[in-house]
Amino acid sequence: MARFQAIVGAENCIFEADQLVAYECDALPHLRGRPGLVVLPKSRDEVVQVVKLAYASGLPIVPRGSGTGLSGGAMPSDGCLLLGLSRMRRIIDIDLDNQRMRVEPGVVNLDISKRLAPHGYYYAPDPSSAQICSIGGNVAENSGGAHCLKYGFTTHHVLGAELVLADGKVVELGGAVLDAPGYDLRGALVGSEGTLGIVTQVTLRICRLPETTRTLLATFPSTTEAGNAVSLIIASGILPAAIEMMDKIAIDAVRSVMGGAWPEVAAVLLMDVDGTLGEVEHTAERASELCLQAGAIELRRPSSVAEREAMWRGRKSAFTAMGRLSPNYIVQDGVIPRSQIARVLREIARLAEHWGVRVANVFHAGDGNLHPLVLYDAALPEEAERAERCSGDIVRLCVSSGGSITGEHGVGVDKAAYMGEMFSDTDLETMNWLRCSFDPEARFNPGKIFPTPRLCGDRPGHYVAHPTEVSGQIGRG
């Protein structure tokens, strides 16, 4: 303890039980662990020293950004060292001409775009938590957001990173210049959920703001018509910047927060098309026609920036608004092929009925990333368990439809049990090789992603029972 205090200062070390509580979970509060201590370094050098000391002391390290993750990725393992990076929030430099920017990991996502806006630039990935989530966390989770259909995910916008390895060595992955020789380790890092090392600096690609953006809100009699509209728009060759769908329960939740500005219907599509003025005039008009063709009841186009922002605020507040409808809910993040949206939504409704719970759907329709919210009341007997089961069936439905268990929230602790539904043992073993190449002793974020503890055997490529397994201390499979 004293030695960690000596590195970062006593004020940046937390070990009193009542203060540690705040760090027991991320945005999935039912997954909790009690860290041994929390350390909040302010610089790369401090991170290096902390990591070295933790390594020498045999302490596992769990990194944490703003704690907004939805998969328990920042959930501490009991007794671990929780490394909070929120005090490393310098913007190091901005190179507008080359569309590059270097930041520390604690910089908040939205602050980047705010800083760039006066120059006519922005940072594209926009997770719904952009106002508080950190770039370091975005790198860990390969965060998406509503606008990644057209502009890509964090992995498309992170060009380089400085990484502190388990032994304290600092390495550069990628960089401001494209295609650095060697394996694309930056590609491996993004989305690795804090299991490879501690990111102390990130080089981002920044984008010029589009000439214009048009927002369109279309209402539909049901999600089937809304799903058909999405298919028609995509088939027409339009690539909307974002295209979001909400069903009746989700709309009702948003209405309870936003009031009458939101319509009282069974399905809504909220869409942005952006680009040059010439392009957007065409795509906005065409998208409107296609919505009507698919059976839209009403089309709303915001007449002011404020109105547009209100529409998007409604969408982005959907999760929080759900609290008005139900005391508890489970957020799922499964992905399905876009063409199967209508069918899968019907299946989800059937599952909800089967398990006797309500499921709200608010999701990124353009890329088939569903966010079913399974509502339940923990105070009622067995309801939590039924919700849990329903939620598991939804994940399996996504996988059997050719999709994924998670589109942007990450696996973390929450979905580790489902990894085996999507990947074979060989697949998981191969992934583990990647991890072991960076962190052979699995010091960073242990217990995440993989369904069972995986160790870095001394004979790569062949399964070797670990001594602890032989002695019965751990199990597999």
Binding site: Y183, T276, K415, T426, F438, G461
Partner: protein
């Protein structure tokens, strides 16, 4: 030396079988797709067998509504594009030699063409990969949907790994809708800083070209090609704005090319990536073209038929030419590499005659994270049997 064995497996299962046997016999293996990029990297230190992927040519799955296609690795880029085109789609990768280059090969080299400016390189469109490992096991990474963060991003690591981690047997790719109209504009007589200014002016104007390349002419000036693509109405309107940008006027105002002239321009822009016996690339920042040109002057002066193309929004230069005397050419390469690295970039060799190779490593000094790369290779291929010595640092 015993003759090199050659194999042409017809399925992923046959590849797995072959790799399992090869593991038992400890054969060192090279994998060949279309053979368009065999010069990339160093020559393998030794091979016992080569595996041709050309019979891996099945389309595994294509759901046009989802704009996703799964193909075996031996399919050529041209065939994939023809197939996608029937559904009004394409893969946003316009790498050279499409009729020969295979998808597996393009993934192995991290391929791209001028449209990378809009669509990214193949790494950015690669959703999933099936890898036959050195031990013969078949591993899948990624998925079949555009958005997926389940587990580590194996496809990213496989992209650009030059067959040193396993045989790329199947790939899943994101497709895009074909644009309704393409229009190419040419600006001649720009100097290097003029090219940078033109790039910045297009961006200031919020025009979004899908390609922006500059081809060096014989007078040390550049011929800039700008391609706008999208819906007809949008392209026409953007075209009018583009033609008014003063920064695009070099010796004369920019001109819109006919379809035939445009095709010929883009073909010429490809030759620095396909012609001659020596080919290299320099990666730098987009604003560094004036420096890049300076670094390359001594090299270009020593090459027969030397040529250069610059991908202006990406900061990538491709240079080709035929070296006469290998020594001074290697020296010019080394000094250009030194300058590029000093400025934060890199120079890699895509093809070279043996006499030049003997003087210079294809990749240059070890990257900062080489220890991790080396560990990675060790875990995927502990006996170093896959393309040994071809990759960075002899991996």
């Amino acid at each position: 030396m015993p003759a090199l064995e050659a194999y042409e497996p017809e399925s992923v299962a046959a590849c797995a079988e072959l790799f399992t046997r090869a593991a038992e016999r400890k054969l060192r293996l090279g994998v060949i797709g279309g053979g368009t990029a065999l010069g990339v990297g160093n020559a393998p230190s030794a091979l016992d067998a080569v595996v041709f992927t050309r019979r891996l040519e099945r389309v595994v799955e294509y759901a046009p509504e989802d704009q996703v296609i799964v193909v075996e690795a031996g399919i050529t880029l041209a065939r994939l594009q023809a197939l996608a085109r029937q559904n009004g789609q394409w893969l946003g990768v316009d790498a050279p030699q499409a009729s020969t280059a295979t998808l597996g090969g393009l993934v192995a080299v991290g391929g791209f063409g001028p449209r990378r400016a809009r669509y990214g390189a193949i790494r950015d469109l690669l959703l999933g990969v099936t890898l036959v490992r050195a031990d013969g096991a078949v591993a899948h990474g990624g998925g079949k949907v555009v958005k997926n963060v389940a587990g580590f991003d194996l496809p990213k690591v496989v992209a650009g790994s030059l067959g040193t981690l396993g045989l790329i047997a199947e790939v899943t790719l994101r497709l895009h809708p074909l644009p309704e109209l393409a229009a190419t504009f040419r600006c001649v007589g720009l100097d290097a800083s003029g090219v940078v200014q033109a790039m910045l002016a297009l961006r200031r104007a919020q025009l979004e070209p899908s390609s922006l390349v500059a081809l060096l002419d014989s007078h040390g000036r550049f011929e800039l090609g700008v391609r706008l693509e999208g819906f007809q109405k949008g392209v026409e309107r953007d075209a009018a704005r583009l033609l008014e940008l003063p920064e695009l006027t070099g010796k004369s105002p920019p001109e819109r090319l006919s379809e035939a002239l445009a095709a010929s321009y883009w073909q010429r822009a490809e030759t620095p990536r396909t012609a001659c016996s020596l080919r290299i690339r320099i990666n730098a920042l987009p604003t560094q073209l004036p420096d890049v040109q300076k670094w390359l002057e001594p090299l270009l002066a020593r090459l027969e038929g030397g040529r250069l193309v610059w991908y202006a929004t990406l900061g990538i230069a491709f240079v080709a030419g035929d070296p006469g005397d290998p020594r001074p050419v290697a020296a010019a390469l080394a000094s250009a590499r030194g300058a590029a690295m000093w400025a934060g970039g890199s120079l890699v060799v895509d093809a070279a005659p043996g006499a030049v190779r003997a003087e210079i490593d294809a990749w240059g000094p070890l990257p900062s994270a080489f220890s991790v790369m080396s560990e990675l290779k060790q875990r995927f291929d502990p006996e170093r049997r896959l393309n040994p010595g071809r990759f960075v640092g002899g991996l």
